[in-house]
Symmetry: C2
Subunit: 341 residues, 2 copies
DNA sequence: TACGTTTGTGTAATCGATTGCGCAATTTAA
DNA sequence: TTAAATTGCGCAATCGATTACACAAACGTA
């Protein structure tokens, strides 16, 4: 069992001091070339690896950044994290925390990450309670770089990377209109979160811009699940004047909708068009592939990481606030293609 | 900007020393109750949080564990990681590393994690080169707990958590036989990796046990992709005596196979049955849902984490080697159900 | 009164690195 | 030959915690 080599071990072997070894290894110009070389060789021989913990304690930089997401086993967040990791490797390590959409857990996570002395926090917000707000503000006060991605919060001095949910929704709705749909329903998700509110607004505006009346009965705040989609469709079909299309803020709800519509014998896309959001892998795998708005998660992760790096190089007294908005991309598939593909 | 409070700050305020503060906070019985209480109150007032880096350096335990996976944006690995994180929270933090199936990156990752002084490494092996083997052995020599999950390697003193790939394959193949299939092909993946070799063996044995001749021409080492599945089917259909079923080691290849078969006008499951492996979310979403072997990724992650914890409590001189094998579970769906569901 | 215990705190070393300051030895300039 | 400047390296503090050891005060006991 090989004990770890430290600079002291090297110093002892060379009859010198740790200071010299440290300087030699760091290419300090005050050290003669001969000693420098000797130290480096001995270090290699003894298989010396610097102890990052010691370095971290000394410098105050841990080399870790924390990423807080609702959960990791969703294609979207996993891809974002991949983007972050790819961008930061090998300078920073990514520490993952999941909130499971639980406000307490979100607070705990922030706390633990701060204690662990992370050099920055990248998070997708789950909760909008004031307690969480306070906690998040503490991060900013401590001058720990904080960046929101996807689910952001409007907060002074905090940068964010999001996609243009409004545009995505607008374009998707517009597409449905172009396909000849006139009674377009919307599954909106929890609109207290900005992203869902923005999608709703984009949807609504697209209707208005095309002289289609907005109908409140067509809007449901569904959860992002197959079951929620099915349940909402059931209600929609009972309306006096049922819709002929759905723009869903969730691919899962869109899938549920399609399943339910089929069971009612409704033909897609001939009689009914469906558009999802998120571009989950399954949407393109279905025989009846589902149209969806892509959120470029990898790119989002990369951008978030880049913004973090920028923020690091920023003078501390200077508050930097950068809002990056990525363009969504429509993936038009069978579920909404009445014409040709 | 609130500077961080240290035990020295607390000591100064109370006109005592850091040692006393430290002891008081750690409930050391040698400290009088009055001082203890006073210290705790002051600590709370000053919003003291212990610096984990200092603790880590002192104790030699970082409180981080490294997880190395081929990639994180796959449902399987993301779910495993979720299991790990859930099990270890909040005692340990998970640091993610991706190899992208690249051997150099795998070596780098191990190195970085060791330098970062992680308290353990949980990995799913990508590569079988001797260079990687050597690196992995170094981890064991350093007495850093190492646990393989899913893709393991046979190595002395290393524990592992896997599923019984052999059984999974055997049962899936058996099921196809029960459905009346007699010419069963196999997409095997890279058989230099244990998991794929074991699946192949299970497949083969099931054939033999049921008096079906094993046909080498029916076996393809496909990649785990839709395209690979399609390509393999194309070749299979050109055979003199084409198969009437496929057991695929990859859900993605199975999906590709189904797509290709359909384009050839072959009816599933009537004329041809397909069984996948991995139980990716999309398999159950398809209209023609795909039968698949579930690998219980969450459970696998949890188990791996548990084994890690056990290993920690193990006396260092005692080599512990635990091999946990989870039972796979068949999810039988339309793609292989000729009878009823 | 004197001595041994117990109790509660302080001193200082330690974990493994970095770095300002000081001091020899050497080189350069006068 | 002597003073000044440069070069190369060692000493010791620092980052923020823990902990073995020492030691004084308070106590009990003979």
């Amino acid at each position: 069992m090989s004990k770890k080599t430290t600079i002291y071990d090297i110093a002892k072997k060379l009859n010198t001091t740790a200071a010299t070894v440290s300087r030699a290894l760091n290419n300090n110009p005050k050290i003669s070339e001969s000693t420098c070389k000797l130290v480096r060789e001995t270090a290699a021989e003894m298989n010396y690896k610097p102890n990052k913990l010691a370095l971290a304690l000394q410098s105050g930089k841990s080399g870790n950044i924390g990423v807080i997401v609702p959960r990791i086993d969703s294609n979207f967040f996993a891809s974002v994290i991949r983007g972050i990791e790819d961008e930061l490797y090998p300078d920073y390590h990514v520490i993952i925390c999941q909130t499971h959409e639980d406000e307490k857990r979100e607070i705990e996570n922030i706390n633990t990450l701060l204690n662990a002395q992370v050099d920055g926090i990248l998070m997708s917000v789950s909760n909008v309670t004031s307690e969480n707000d306070r906690m998040i503000k503490r991060v900013v006060e401590k001058n720990v770089p904080l960046i929101f991605f996807d689910r952001k919060k409007n907060m002074d001095g905090v940068s964010s990377v999001t996609i243009n949910d409004y545009d995505g929704a607008y374009l998707a709705t517009k597409h449905l209109i172009n396909e000849g749909c006139t009674r377009i329903a919307h599954f909106s998700g929890d609109r207290s979160l900005e992203i869902f509110e923005n999608r709703f607004k984009g949807y609504k505006q697209a209707l208005l811009d095309n002289e289609i009346e907005f109908n409140e009965n067509y809007v449901f705040q569904t959860k992002s699940s197959v079951e929620a989609g099915r349940a909402a469709v059931e209600k929609l079909l009972k309306l006096e004047n049922p819709p002929d299309a759905i723009f869903s803020s969730s691919d899962f709800a869109a899938l549920g909708a399609i399943q339910e519509l089929k069971e009612h014998g409704i033909k897609i896309p001939e009689d009914f068009c469906v558009f999802g959001f998120g571009n989950e892998p399954f949407t393109k795998f279905m025989e009846l592939s589902i149209s969806s708005v892509d959120q470029s998660p990898m790119e989002m992760g990369e951008m978030a990481a880049k913004v973090f790096l920028e923020q690091l190089n920023n003078p501390k007294n200077l508050k930097m606030e950068k809002k990056v908005v990525l363009n969504p991309e429509l993936h038009i598939r069978k579920s909404s293609s009445r014409h040709s593909l």
